[in-house]
């Protein structure tokens, strides 16, 4: 593979740019100690309990702490605001809190605050976006003693610490009843919110009373600003002209282009997100859909050139995946059939299934249009008449949830969780809108895995599920994503292993 360098015009542009821009802007942000990051999507709230966006998660890691957190090195779930924890039984978890945790308003974190937070989220009427996450398994929370709380679970649930770490930031007792509070958010994280303007920007400042014993203590940068810039081209221009210091989720083409400039650094890291094509095996969309035939689904698997798409379009550290999960997730080790790119075989399988002349269908997609187009082209090449229905997410979701799609290309980030329950589990559960397999036995396997605590047993159950999915070709698993970051060279920023940046780790190079 040849790497393409910017052409002459590009270089001239670069030269001009270097001459003009650098002296003007280079050190501006370092001098004011402000890290400016671009967000592609506007954030509707700074309260993680009411947000479902990935940007909300990124921000919450600065402004909030939960009882546990995801250790950036190991991706294990470790105590954060909790000093220690103990499983009394399979369904009883006792937690001792740290005694030096302070809210942004100056008050101290107590056991009552923890109980309040969880009861608020458990309460159906409070309508948080996190409610559905813990309502399934958490029965109640009670104060045992000052600084000690007990969690009573409805059922044995291996991912309890994960849910607490990823989804439940702690709130001051009475936060949601108090309507006089004027601060946008009262958290316990290492940064406090200074101002928040929904579609425009979020400004943070380091919280100087943050508890020193925290693994997140002592962040280097004093101010952070998150600017909402939906357009990738505009983000690039801002980065080039010094308006922002860091760009997230950079498309590989952009990363390749921009990283050839000497004053921009490119970082590349993993993401736990995978791309896939789902086929309507259950014939929900149409009782006569060709996709109810196993051979047709296998043919589609053989027809898509996943290697080439991954190599040229996803690029970076992205890899072809063969099973319905991310290879770095626990339980993701299927050993069932893998489908090689083989258009001849695809045509043959189509003929055997009774479609020697192909058939016509819509492929739905809502992101990575280029890749969706490439898939369509591959399918056309084996004689299928495919129309790309590239729509916005809400339309996509509507049609998908109505089970009206014959085939769709989508991706799933598993909420950054390195466990197959977050991918395989979510997609093949019985009541999942994403489940187009109609396979009851498979749903049972997935459910059993979710309720099993023993790691060995869980792994075996997931393997069984993954092999079944591969044998039946319910999916065309496509690729794992690679994450590209572009940043100014003064900035030091450790690449997150799960694709969710932790900006409290960022610092300026001296």
């Amino acid at each position: 593979m040849k790497t393409r360098y910017p052409d002459r015009l590009g270089r001239r542009l670069t030269g001009l740019f270097l001459a003009c821009v650098l002296p003007l802007y280079a050190c501006a942000d370092q001098e004011t100690d402000t890290l400016v990051v671009a967000f592609s999507k506007p954030l509707t709230t700074v309260d993680r309990l009411y947000s479902i966006q990935r940007e909300g998660l990124i921000l919450s890691r600065l402004t909030d702490d939960g009882l546990f957190f995801v250790d950036p090195k190991t991706l294990e779930f470790e105590p954060l605001a909790a000093a220690s924890y103990e499983w009394v039984t399979d369904t009883q978890l006792d937690i001792t809190l740290r005694d030096d945790v302070i809210f942004h308003d100056g008050s101290r974190l107590t056991a009552e605050d923890v109980v309040y937070t969880f009861e608020w989220v458990l309460d159906e009427d409070s309508d948080t976006s996190r409610g559905p996450v813990i309502q399934r398994w958490l029965d109640s929370v009670e104060t045992l003693a000052p600084g000690r709380v007990r969690f009573n679970l409805k059922l044995p649930y291996p991912m309890a610490l994960r849910d607490m770490a990823v989804s439940i930031p702690l709130r001051k007792k009475g936060t949601y009843e108090d309507e006089t509070a004027d601060a946008p958010l009262n958290g316990i994280g290492p940064y406090k919110v200074v101002s928040f303007s929904a579609g425009r920007e979020i400004v943070l400042q380091r919280f100087e009373d943050y508890y020193e014993g925290s693994p997140k203590a002592g962040p280097a940068i004093e101010h952070m600003k998150f600017r909402v810039i939906p357009d990738q081209g505009t983000q690039q221009a801002e980065l080039l002209s010094g308006g922002i210091d860091l760009m997230l989720d950079v498309p590989p083409d952009v990363a390749d282009n921009v990283s050839h400039l000497p004053n921009v650094e490119r970082l590349e890291g993993n993401d736990i997100r995978i791309g896939y094509v789902t086929l309507d095996a259950a014939a929900n969309s149409d009782p006569d859909t060709p996709f109810k035939h196993l051979k047709v689904r296998q043919a589609i698997n053989h027809a898509i050139n996943r290697e080439e798409i991954t190599r040229y379009l996803v690029r970076g550290s992205a890899e072809v995946v063969d099973f319905a999960c991310h290879p770095r997730q626990f339980g993701c080790d299927g050993n069932g059939p893998r489908y090689r790119f083989d258009p001849v075989k695809a045509k043959q399988l189509l003929a055997e299934a009774g479609y020697p002349n192909g058939f016509s269908f819509d492929l739905w997609a809502y992101r990575e249009k280029i890749i969706a187009e490439a898939i369509v082209n591959d399918l056309k090449a084996v004689g299928l008449d495919v129309q790309l229905r590239y729509v916005k997410l809400n339309v996509f979701s509507k049609v998908r949830n109505d089970k009206d799609m014959e085939a769709f290309f989508a991706s799933y980030g598993s909420g950054g969780t390195a466990d197959a329950s977050a991918s395989t589990g979510v997609h093949f559960a019985r009541n999942s809108a994403r489940n187009y397999s109609g396979d009851e036995a498979l749903a049972d396997t997935v459910l059993a895995a979710e309720r099993t605590i023993d790691p060995g047993e869980r792994q075996a159950l997931y393997r069984q599920a993954l092999n079944r999915i591969a044998e039946q070709a319910y999916w065309v698993p496509m690729f794992s994503y690679s994450q590209n970051y572009l940043l100014s060279p003064e900035l030091e920023f450790p690449v997150p292993k799960d694709g969710v940046p932790r900006f409290w780790q960022a610092s300026w190079r001296q």
């Binding site: 393409r4 590009g10 221009a237 952009v254 282009n257 040229y312 187009e373 490439a374 082209n377």
Partner: protein, 314 residues
């Protein structure tokens, strides 16, 4: 008192109306057609416009034979090739390739086809709606005229691009939908001209006389009004073609127009936008094509107006 409608038609199209009255006084001693042709031969803008449009139309119509490659053929290993005059370009791909390794020249040639189809299609639908409504409103008057007037007010008061976007978003993206939606939102000028002409005609005596002889009055109106309006409608039509082409490009640019992988210039600009600082031709080439086409269509419109209606520049 000035109405919205008159204010809106303050654009170039409006002068068609104003000059109406002078028409008869100028062409003494020569048949109007001959006079128009004479003027056309001397009209620089018109000649340039016709030349450009002719070339573009040839490319659009004969695209399958003139385009060097299949505009849909993807070769991922050859993606993002620069044009031939830039370092790294290849003669086989004169204008380079796009992000899926498709030949850019072929896509631009096919893009002319899309733009012209949509321009002419949408302007025709607009003409059909506008002229029909204008005839009906002008001839029957009364509540029908008022209803049409209400429609016009609705149409003019809504930001048209937003309305088009909402409609396309909801109905679904396809060439047909885009043509119909743009057409259905651009008929006011036709209506204004037709309604005015029909109104005047209704007052004339000979219509009454003809109807006394047993002809349907509406038929007469249609037969009398339309031939007189051909020139004006032609001018409006050309200018609306340009508007429709720009509208389609804007829609496609915003992601609510022609669906991929159809080569629409607006869509190509949108797709090239993320690379515009490094592979600027991805944005410049379709933009320039669009500009040339629209300017030619506009010049044609201006030219037709100048030669058919009185030449107001002198």
């Amino acid at each position: 008192m000035m109405t919205i409608r008159e204010a809106v038609s303050g654009s170039s199209i409006a002068s068609v109306e104003h000059s109406d009255a002078e028409q008869s006084t100028v062409n003494l001693g020569m048949s109007p057609t001959r006079a128009a042709l004479m003027r056309a031969r001397k009209h620089q803008g018109l000649k340039i416009a016709l030349g450009i449009l002719l070339v573009m139309a040839v490319f659009a119509v004969f695209a399958p034979w003139l385009a060097p490659h299949d505009p849909y053929l993807q070769t991922l290993s050859l993606r993002m090739l620069p044009p031939v005059w830039v370092e790294g370009g290849q003669w086989e791909y004169l204008l380079g390739t796009d992000h899926l390794g498709r030949d850019y020249l072929s896509r631009i040639i096919y893009g002319a086809r899309i733009s012209m189809t949509i321009g002419i299609g949408a302007a025709s639908i607009g003409a059909l709606i506008g002229v029909t409504l204008g005839l009906l409103a002008g001839y029957f008057g009364g509540w029908l005229d008022q209803a049409v007037n209400f429609l016009v007010t609705c149409q003019l008061a809504v930001p048209s691009l937003l309305l088009i976007m909402a409609l396309v978003f909801v109905i679904g993206q396809s060439i047909t939908v885009v043509i119909f939606v743009i057409g259905a939102t651009h008929w006011v000028f036709y209506l204004v001209v037709t309604r005015f002409a029909t109104l005047r005609l209704r007052e004339l005596d000979f219509v009454a006389a003809a109807s006394a002889m047993g002809c349907s009055r509406f038929q007469i109106a249609v037969r009398e009004v339309l031939p007189n309006l051909v020139n004006q409608i032609m001018v409006i039509f050309t200018l609306e073609v340009a508007v429709a082409i720009l509208n389609e490009a804007t829609l496609s640019f915003l992601g609510l127009g022609i669906p991929s992988p159809t080569p629409s210039w607006g869509l190509m600009i949108a797709e090239g936008k993320t690379a515009m600082f490094f592979q600027p031709w991805l944005v410049i080439l379709p933009g320039v094509s669009l500009f040339i086409l629209v300017i030619a269509v506009n010049l044609l419109g201006d030219g037709v107006r100048d030669v058919t209606v009185t030449n107001r520049r002198n």
